[in-house]
């Protein structure tokens, strides 16, 4: 939209020529200057600039819809009104059906907690036919750290959906819909995304998984500012990809240790903060999500996987649709299984801190 050419916008000839003469070719060029600056640059009166800009703005501006129209469209065109069910009852209920289409869902947790297991299960679920609760589509799995195990994928499939997988050739069909890409750098990743865009347009790809986003970004730049900028650009791009293709995109993230003994506060809170002598410095063994606060704002749903006193929990730490709930889970041969579908509601700082206690057995498989 922003790259629309001004000479194709049916502006009066005289003003269109002036725009071209001053090298303002696309709408973005024109909108990146204030009206006063345009007046100076184009050497025309304020009234003409205002009316030309009003015309350009109307052409570039996104279409108007009503919330009702949105809902009806999604109910009509998309499976389950735009959700991919995870088969974890409590989580699906909290998310109004499952992982939502068109937005970014983040999975964050310490190593070995089960993020890749969850991703494997999701890719399987998306490739299943619609009558089994799947999306009947292809999956693109961006495997940065080479953690994808096709053997484990088939195992999850056969244990969770025995009636499908024991049929001849089904395992091959399902596994054949999952394409694994292994980019080694952020730029390679961006290139693969550009190529994927075409298949998205043709609506064959129904799920994109990036495992893990942190490894892609953190391996690249040392300095904070350039890393934030690179991340920012890629996040915008992935978001717009999700948006226009209406598919779910799941990204995994790492954790880092929490530096400092207190959480960040606003300046007005600092006045009521107790002095440092009152609070002994506690070394809490908790972690926080990597990739920074911009990233935390950019994702729409954040699922935190953590372990407290030997029990693993999956927490819905950020969701526009439900309160922050924590569900205990285990990893079995058929993937992740919730132990309790009701979930415990969390409050306050507990929502975003990530615990990694008592995780002696990394995988407690039950066979």
């Amino acid at each position: 939209m922003a790259n629309k050419l001004i000479n194709q916008m049916a502006l009066p000839k005289s003003i269109a020529n002036i725009f071209a003469a001053r090298n303002i070719i696309t709408a973005k060029d024109a909108l990146s200057l204030t009206e006063f600056e345009l007046m100076e640059l184009l050497d025309v009166g304020m009234a003409e600039v205002t009316s030309a800009m009003a015309h350009i703005s109307e052409v570039v501006c996104p279409p108007c819809q009503t919330a009702l129209l949105l809902m009806e469209q999604r109910v009509r065109n998309e499976s389950l009104a735009g959700h991919l069910p995870t088969r974890l009852k409590g989580l699906d209920e909290a998310l109004c059906g499952g992982i939502p289409f068109g937005v970014l869902t983040e999975l964050v947790g310490p190593p070995g907690i089960g993020k890749t297991q969850f991703c494997l299960k999701l890719s399987l679920l998306a490739s299943l036919p619609v009558n089994c609760g799947g999306l009947d589509g292809r999956v693109i799995y961006i495997d940065v750290e080479s953690k994808f195990s096709s053997k484990r994928l088939i195992e999850i499939g056969t244990k969770s959906f025995p009636e499908i997988f024991h049929k001849k050739g089904m395992a091959q069909e399902m596994a054949g819909r999952i394409r694994i890409l292994r980019p080694t750098s952020l730029s390679e990743f961006a290139e693969s995304l550009q190529r994927i865009k075409v298949s998205l347009l043709q609506q064959q790809v129904k799920l994109l998984i990036v495992d893990s986003m942190a490894a892609l970004v953190l391996g690249e730049h040392d300095c904070g500012a350039s890393r934030q900028q690179a991340l920012g650009w890629h996040v915008s791009f992935i978001k717009s990809l999700a948006e226009f293709s209406r598919i779910p995109i799941v990204l995994t993230n790492q954790v880092r240790s929490h530096i400092g003994d207190e959480s960040l506060m606003y300046s007005f809170q600092a006045q009521s903060r107790p002095t440092k002598e009152d609070n002994p410095v506690t070394f809490d063994s908790h972690l926080v999500a990597a990739l920074g606060i911009n990233w935390a704002h950019a994702v729409t749903i954040r699922l935190v996987l953590e372990s407290r006193s030997g029990q693993r929990f999956i927490k819905l730490a950020k969701s526009p649709m439900s309160p922050p709930l924590a569900f205990p889970f285990n990893i079995t041969s058929s993937g992740i299984v919730l132990l309790d579908d009701d979930g415990i509601e969390m409050k306050g700082p507990e929502i975003n801190t990530i615990h990694c206690q008592g995780q002696n057995a990394l995988f407690n498989f039950e066979f």
Binding site: E35, M39, G97
Partner: protein, 347 residues
Amino acid sequence: MEIGMLPISASKRGKLLAAGYTTLHSIARTSPTHLARDIEVSESEALEILNVATRTSTLDRSCGSNTNIIDGGQTAWDMFNEERFSSLITTSCVDLDNILGGGINCKEVTEIGGVPGIGKTQIGIQLAVNVQIPLEYGGLGGKAIYIDTEGSFMVERVLQIAEACIEDMSEYSHHFHKDNQAYGVKMHPNSILENIFYFRVCSYTEQIALVNYLDKFVTEHKDVKIIIIDSVTFHFRQDFDDMALRTRLLGEMSLKLMKLARNFCLAVVMLNQVTTKHIEGSFQLTLALGDSWSHSCTNRIILYWNGNERHAYIDKSPSLKSASAPYSVTSRGIRNSTSSSKRIKMV
């Protein structure tokens, strides 16, 4: 008054200066024919320059009469009378409404910022629903424009909040009009959804274009009473190497929004993200987009965690006291906090 301040093109200004016209007073005395001859433009252009000049100069000419000293202004008394009847949009949380003086004010630009997950989008959606509360229930009966830059507008959640709002209204009418069955609420959640105009913006160019277009849109839809931008920050945070340009563009955008709020008597609510800043030797949280941006809104509310409770703090307002109030986000939307001691803390 100098020629340099007239909103005319640079070449015309140059010609005026070259011909010796440096002040407005000097132009005011000539006729269009003389001016056209002196600066070598057509008569119609000269007439246009004179019109612009007279319009600009009336603004600071004093006539000496009491009530109309400056053309186009308003006396404080008139404004006070207007404000007494000005419309407020409730947030559905009594404590929050109290520190806001009754609710979000129409004719003003309010900025609400906070960390991810604190409830900014929730408040945005709640306001988009509450603006539609009919006049009989103390609302404005208006429509809402929701500008979504991040994709966080979940229709399922809007439906939940709309249904809860209708239930609350019918409970209220049942309570106060027990004998009169005719007061049943006739609203359907779908009609609430229909009155929320939704725009999805994917770049800062689209955001600026949309704000420019809103003037025309609101003229065609006069019952829009609130514009919510969620969030105003997202597209301006990446993609900008030239920070000075960003400040200028943001400044122009916020001026346009203020004009919209004033001219059409509606509320503008901007949701903002947070960033960390190094102040007085330590890192602190602050709202994004910089220091110059913090001047762009009329009121500024910061949402934060106070222990296990969500609180809202009035950081900046010309008429409201700095206070903080607790609120909670429930499955029905924004509601009062469930804590037993619901005190409002005055800072």
